[in-house]
């Protein structure tokens, strides 16, 4: 399976639909551990990206997604997603298509940039952990198994970290009060992956 700009556009559009539907859920999850805006952030960002006309070049298409998030979603999550798209765009610079096997590498580039931007570490109970688990789960897998593996990994991350305290961002303030609650950003990541198809 070869990924071009149209494939990306279609995926973004599906995710936009999915995140619009779960915006309330994500707002509520963020309300319990933060300021309650995560659903707005995520759904607005993907809606903006879905509305953009993506150039045929894959690198430029990813750059367009980054810019869309930067325009409308400047909360932590929106900025991190923009940062991730930007790093992936750099890694895919000049390419007209990508192979599925390259996806883990792009995600690694994204993860690294997001860690630098947010000064976060793995284990802080954030979206970084989701990304890390998903990368591990899909690396080396055949293309047709990747999506299911990613979904399982994203869901599993939420459950693994539910029992741990948040160590970063607004949720940090809740300390042990955050134990038992899903990290809103990890939950959002799960919904995004589920929305892919």
């Amino acid at each position: 399976m070869s990924i071009d700009s149209a494939v990306i556009a279609a995926a973004i559009s599906r995710v936009a639909q999915a995140t619009a539907e779960c915006a309330e859920e994500l707002n509520t999850a963020d309300g319990a551990l933060g300021d309650g805006d995560l659903g707005i952030t995520v759904s607005r960002g993907f809606a903006e990206a879905a509305a953009a006309t993506l150039p045929p070049n894959v690198g430029l298409a990813l750059l367009e997604c980054a810019k869309a998030f930067q325009r409308v979603s400047s909360s932590s999550y929106g900025t991190l997603v923009a940062t991730g798209f930007m790093a992936a765009a750099k890694a895919a610079k000049g390419r007209e298509t990508l192979e599925a096997a390259e996806i883990p590498g792009l995600l690694e580039a994204a993860l690294e940039a997001m860690m630098a931007r947010g000064k976060g570490s793995l284990g802080d109970k954030t979206v970084l952990d989701s990304l890390d688990t998903v990368i591990g789960a899909i690396k080396g897998r055949p293309a047709e198994e990747m999506l299911d593996a990613a979904k399982a990994a994203a869901a599993e991350t939420v459950e693994t970290f539910r029992g741990l305290p948040n160590r970063l961002g607004r949720a940090r303030m809740f300390g042990d009060g955050s134990i038992g609650l899903p990290d809103p950003g990890q939950l959002a990541f799960q919904r995004i992956v589920e929305g892919l198809g």
């Binding site: 300021d35 309650g36 805006d37 930067q70 400047s74 900025t79 961002g169 607004r170 940090r172 303030m173």
Partner: protein, 330 residues
């Protein structure tokens, strides 16, 4: 939602339009959500830029003015402005002597302001960062750099603004701003929530006779929820938290800001001030230029914050220097 507004999506833009129309002698909006001093950048002066979510007037935009800030980038209610808007604010503030980014320690704001700084590097505009992290309950002393920035910003804006006004260079303005930020300690308490227009419902709920000590200015959790206490008990608890974090000695000089989060009336702030003053007098600490009023709000939230800034001769001089904006005149 008991708010006076048109479309929730227009809340911020209509507010900024009204603000600039009412006070053209202070504010102009050359680009959407970028508020700049009426006269533009002062040539040769270090520019001071701030930014953050809307819903905190006079913070952030309100403090643009002579002796204070040069520009502000403003986001949706309680949401960070974009890195682009921050970069634009920095460009407008730059009078050729570089720009200080002076704002509160919130994840989204920090990431975006860092990006904005990186953008400006490409344009050879030098910039530095000083973060306010004055809310003592938001992290223990050992992790003070993780604390939230709250009303202490008012002091930092004032002091850094006065320093820049004297045409100090960027390193000097940054040093003084950092010194002011380090000298601030704040704590808040809330009695009832506010409503973010686009969310349409209150940010939190509290029982009819409950208060939350230590609550943040976006409704972030505090350290305990308890039965509503008397003004003196509340003030004592807050002063105790501040003094535990930053002990003061006989003869020390401080300024204090007793600040309403919005709905709490001036009357009640003065009742609290009265007690705070007594507590400080009891340990021989003198209050200089106290501030009582609405300096950093959360729209219509009920509650108050107390900020204390320990002064040395330099900080006191800058604090008392002249300054003007639509909300505050010194």
């Amino acid at each position: 939602m008991k708010k006076i507004l048109n479309r929730a999506a227009d809340y911020v833009d209509e507010m900024l339009e009204g603000l600039c129309a009412a006070h053209p002698e202070f504010y102009s909006q050359p680009e959407r959500r970028v508020i700049v001093r009426a006269g533009g950048a002062v040539q040769g002066k270090v520019g001071i830029v701030t930014g953050g979510g809307s819903g905190h007037l006079p913070i952030f935009t309100g403090y643009v003015g002579p002796g204070l800030l040069d520009a502000a980038a403003i986001g949706d209610v309680f949401a960070s402005p974009s890195a682009e808007q921050m970069a634009a604010a920095m460009r407008y503030a730059n009078g050729g002597a570089g720009v200080l980014r002076l704002y509160g320690n919130y994840g989204g704001d920090v990431m975006n302001f860092d990006m904005a700084g990186e953008m400006l590097e490409f344009e050879d505009i030098r910039s530095t960062t000083v973060l306010l992290a004055d809310d003592v309950v938001s992290a223990p002393r050992e992790e003070a750099s993780k604390r939230r920035g709250v009303a202490g910003m008012v002091y930092a804006f004032k002091i850094a603004g006065a320093c820049a006004d004297r045409m100090a260079d960027l390193d000097e303005v940054t040093r003084v701003a950092q010194k002011a930020a380090d000298a601030c300690r704040s704590v808040g308490m809330a009695l009832s929530p506010c409503t973010v227009p686009q969310a349409g419902k209150p940010t939190f709920t509290l029982g009819e006779d409950e208060m939350e000590m230590g609550m943040g200015i976006h409704g972030e959790p505090g350290i305990r929820r308890e039965k509503l206490k008397t003004a003196d008990e509340i003030t004592d608890e807050m002063i105790d938290l501040l003094l535990a974090d930053r002990p003061l000695n006989r003869g020390d000089r401080v300024s204090i800001l007793v600040n309403s989060l919005g709905a709490t009336p001036h009357e009640e702030l003065y009742i609290m001030f009265r007690r705070a003053r007594k507590r400080l007098a009891d340990i021989g600490v003198e209050i200089v230029m106290p501030l009582v009023g609405r300096y950093a709000t959360s729209m219509e939230m009920t509650g108050a914050t107390i900020t204390m800034i320990a002064l040395d001769e330099e900080l006191e001089r800058f604090l008392k220097a002249p300054a003007a904006c639509a909300f505050w005149q010194v």
